[in-house]
């Protein structure tokens, strides 16, 4: 069992938990993720390690409640435990060798972006960070990002905070202003990553994205997480999750993410009407 020792509500549907996992904390690097299962009947879901404390033996996860499992996870409290937690999985991100990096985070993708932003900053790169959300309440980690960025830009789709518009608006401005950017890291909803990839292609700037394919094992044994990169099939869990955004087939990824839509809705509605674990009865 993996105990939750700290919980923080970052935004109404965005939660942070710190979990005891000494073996994972000892090895994890920015870009790695874990797979967890809450209980015996639960699904295995991947979450990025947002932060870690090797001394304390803990890892921090930040997640957005989008469906059954993440909502269930959001209801756990300090002292509760996860049944299964495995990692660190995936290839960690190459951090060294960059001088100026733009980090772009959208929605919960900002949580995934944070450890990478921090790593680039600590490695001595100049870091320009853009984070965006639909509305003010959904913005997360602004102070944390500010502390590890040379410049921080904030956008909201509805204009309730910061720039009124999309993260790509700012990305374009920054690319126009700085001709010495050697890397853009974009993490967020698939359409956002796709837009960032297309924009950077125009500028001839390398763009790394982190893909959120549906996974089962996370060790390369099922092929369920396969994505098309540069015309070739890759397994997100072992070859990624970070890939060259200019080569990713985002439309294919979007299609694959929608395959279980009906099941996802069923499991949610089922839970709420049967007086299940949702505590709504």
């Amino acid at each position: 069992m993996y105990r939750i020792i700290r919980k923080k509500v970052l935004a109404p549907t965005m939660k942070l938990i710190e979990v005891e996992a000494p073996d994972i904390a000892a090895k994890v690097l920015p870009g790695n993720f874990v797979i967890l299962r809450i209980d015996e009947k639960g699904e295995r879901i991947p979450l990025t390690v947002a932060d870690y404390d090797r001394k304390k033996g803990t890892i921090t996860l930040i997640f957005q409640e989008v469906g059954y499992t993440t909502k269930h996870l959001g209801r756990l409290e300090e002292g509760d435990a996860l049944l299964d937690l495995v990692g660190p999985l995936g290839e960690h991100m190459q951090i060294e060798g960059y001088k100026k990096v733009i980090c772009v985070g959208g929605g919960s993708g900002t949580a995934l972006l944070y450890p990478k932003t921090k790593a680039f900053y600590e490695a001595g790169a100049k870091v320009l960070t853009i984070t965006g959300a639909r509305t003010k309440e959904l913005l997360i980690l602004l102070d944390e990002l500010d502390a590890v960025s040379d410049e921080l830009y904030v956008t909201t789709d509805d204009g309730s905070y910061g720039h009124h518009g999309f993260v790509t608006d700012i990305l374009k401005e920054l690319l126009d202003k700085h001709d010495d950017v050697d890397l853009v890291v974009a993490i967020g909803p698939v359409p956002m990553m796709k837009a960032c990839a297309e924009l950077t292609r125009e500028y001839g700037v390398k763009c790394i994205v982190s893909l959120n394919a549906i996974m089962v094992d996370g060790t390369g044994m099922c092929g369920g997480c396969r994505v098309i990169v540069g015309g070739e099939t890759k397994f997100t869990c072992v070859d990624g999750p970070a890939f060259d955004g200019h080569l990713v087939d985002f439309d294919d990824l979007m299609r694959r993410l929608s395959y279980y839509k009906k099941h996802e809705e069923e499991v949610l509605s089922n839970e709420c009407c049967s007086g299940g674990e949702c505590k709504c009865h």
């Binding site: 699904e43 295995r44 044994m221 092929g223 294919d252 694959r256 099941h263 996802e264």
Partner: protein, 463 residues
């Protein structure tokens, strides 16, 4: 009393009923059946049956004990060589192993060794008993992977007095036995109880632990393990590299079976992992994995087709499974090979295009090589395609342990039968060495490696 020429039949669930559930198909002998079948064994002076068993089960001896109704003795004899008899009795391809060599088989049907083994093992599982854990005095050994090879090695090493830790990537022990082979062929409760037995021997299981990620082999040595046995299996799914393989509705057999077996998607939404099966499913391949996928799809409500590029004779699946699949209504398309999977605008599978094949000269495997017949393409409407054309070795451990040599197929190179690798103190066995094979061969490898590890550590201490 004249000898009965045929095996005592095994009661099975009716095929019309069983395709509606995931309960075990073969129901097992009653005591009377077992005694009747045991009588068929000639207790040969030269029991040829033994040479067909990779773990050297003393076959006539345990059958003799059944005849004497001394079941305690029967299970003791079995367990002296086989740590997982309830599993082997169910899934060994006996027709190619022990039963192939049985003397009775020359004129009549061989003795149903597997069914007897299963009966004794089930008798044992169903009684209350205490297993004495053996005091571990001899040093620490790490086993990587809790499939049949790893579990066997761990149990044998514990019996010899080693402190054994098994590291397993998944949240459950058993390897293919829990994620691959379906409930209706091997109930997970049986695997659980056999794993329980191994734990009672004093073996520690560390689940959710991936060697190569959570820790490397070198770090295991730093932690004080004196030898390592790698039994990580052949878990990497092969695809065919034909157009349409990424469409929604195309599963590798591994993913399909893992969702259904390990994650219990057949009980969705009670269990939260989904599986999506349409009206008609095509399974590509002809081995046990293909049979399992086809029969699983059937139970999930689909019409199920197996597409195999050679003829029925060449199918590598166990005879019993082919027989059961046919009984249940799985349809076979022999001498056909897919060339393309066709999708709709939503990116979902709607059909599969195949080409007819004919058999040419035998290839390296000794089976006649299938050759496509030009211009013979045909299209069949399907909603899912499950690819069961085999698995490759799992690359995680070799990739993070560069001093372990591998072949060009990714299997680990071993110097001898004992499974010694090119790295000192590291042994390997099972599918990671042989490529996808059988449960019992993996167990045999685990057994030999356990003996070799004991030898290695004993010698090391003397020197």
């Amino acid at each position: 009393m004249p000898l009965k020429p045929n095996k005592t039949p095994m009661p099975v669930q009716d095929s019309k009923e069983r395709i509606k559930n995931f309960n075990e198909v073969a129901l097992g002998y009653s005591e009377a059946d077992a005694l009747k079948e045991a009588e068929r064994c000639l207790n040969c002076k030269k029991p040829l049956c033994k040479q067909g068993c990779p773990v050297e089960v003393p076959i006539p001896e345990f059958i003799q004990a059944i005849k004497e109704k001394d079941y305690e003795k029967a299970i003791e004899i079995l367990k002296s060589k086989n740590n997982l008899p309830a599993i082997c009795g169910r899934v060994c391809p006996q027709e190619n192993q022990c039963e192939k060599y049985c003397v009775m088989g020359k004129k009549h049907e061989p003795v149903a060794i597997g069914r007897l083994e299963r009966w004794v093992a089930d008798w044992d599982l169903n009684r209350k008993k205490e297993v004495k854990s053996i005091e571990a005095t001899k040093g620490k050994v790490a086993v990587v992977g809790a499939g049949p090879a790893g579990l066997t090695a761990a149990a044998d090493l514990a019996k010899m007095g080693y402190k054994v830790t098994v590291f397993e990537a998944f949240h459950k022990a058993g390897g293919v036995l829990v994620y691959g082979i379906p409930e209706f062929r091997l109930p997970k409760e049986i695997v659980k109880r056999e794993v329980e037995y191994i734990k009672q021997l004093g073996v520690e299981l560390k689940l959710n632990f991936i060697i190569g990620k959570t820790k490397t082999i070198d770090e295991l040595f730093e932690d004080g393990y004196e030898a390592v046995f790698i039994a990580t299996g052949a878990g990497l799914p092969r695809f065919m590299n034909i157009p349409g393989e990424n469409l929604n509705g195309v599963y590798s057999a591994n993913e399909f079976l893992t969702r259904v077996n390990l994650m219990k998607a057949y009980r969705f939404p009670e269990y939260k992992t989904p599986i999506r099966v349409g009206k008609r499913v095509a399974v590509i391949g002809g081995g046990n994995v293909a049979m399992d996928a086809a029969r699983t799809a059937l139970r999930l409500g689909a019409e199920s087709y197996v597409i195999y590029r050679r003829s029925e004779k060449e199918m590598p699946a166990r005879l019993e499974e082919i027989h059961h699949a046919k009984e249940e209504g799985v349809k076979f398309k022999f001498l056909a090979n897919p060339v393309e999977i066709i999708g709709n605008e939503k990116g979902e599978v709607i059909a599969i295009k195949c080409i007819d094949m004919e058999l040419g000269e035998p290839d390296e495997s000794g089976r006649r090589r299938p050759i496509p017949k030009e211009g013979s393409e045909w299209v069949m409407e399907v909603d899912n395609v499950i690819i069961a054309i085999g698995n490759s070795p799992n690359p995680l451990v070799p990739r993070t342990t560069p001093d372990i040599e591998t072949t060009k197929w990714g299997t680990i190179v071993v110097k001898n039968e004992d499974g010694e690798t090119t790295k000192e103190g590291v042994f390997a066995g099972g599918d990671i060495v042989t490529g996808a094979a059988t449960v019992i061969e993996a167990m045999g490898a685990g057994k030999r490696a356990a003996r070799a590890i004991d030898q290695y550590l004993t010698n090391k201490k003397i020197m």
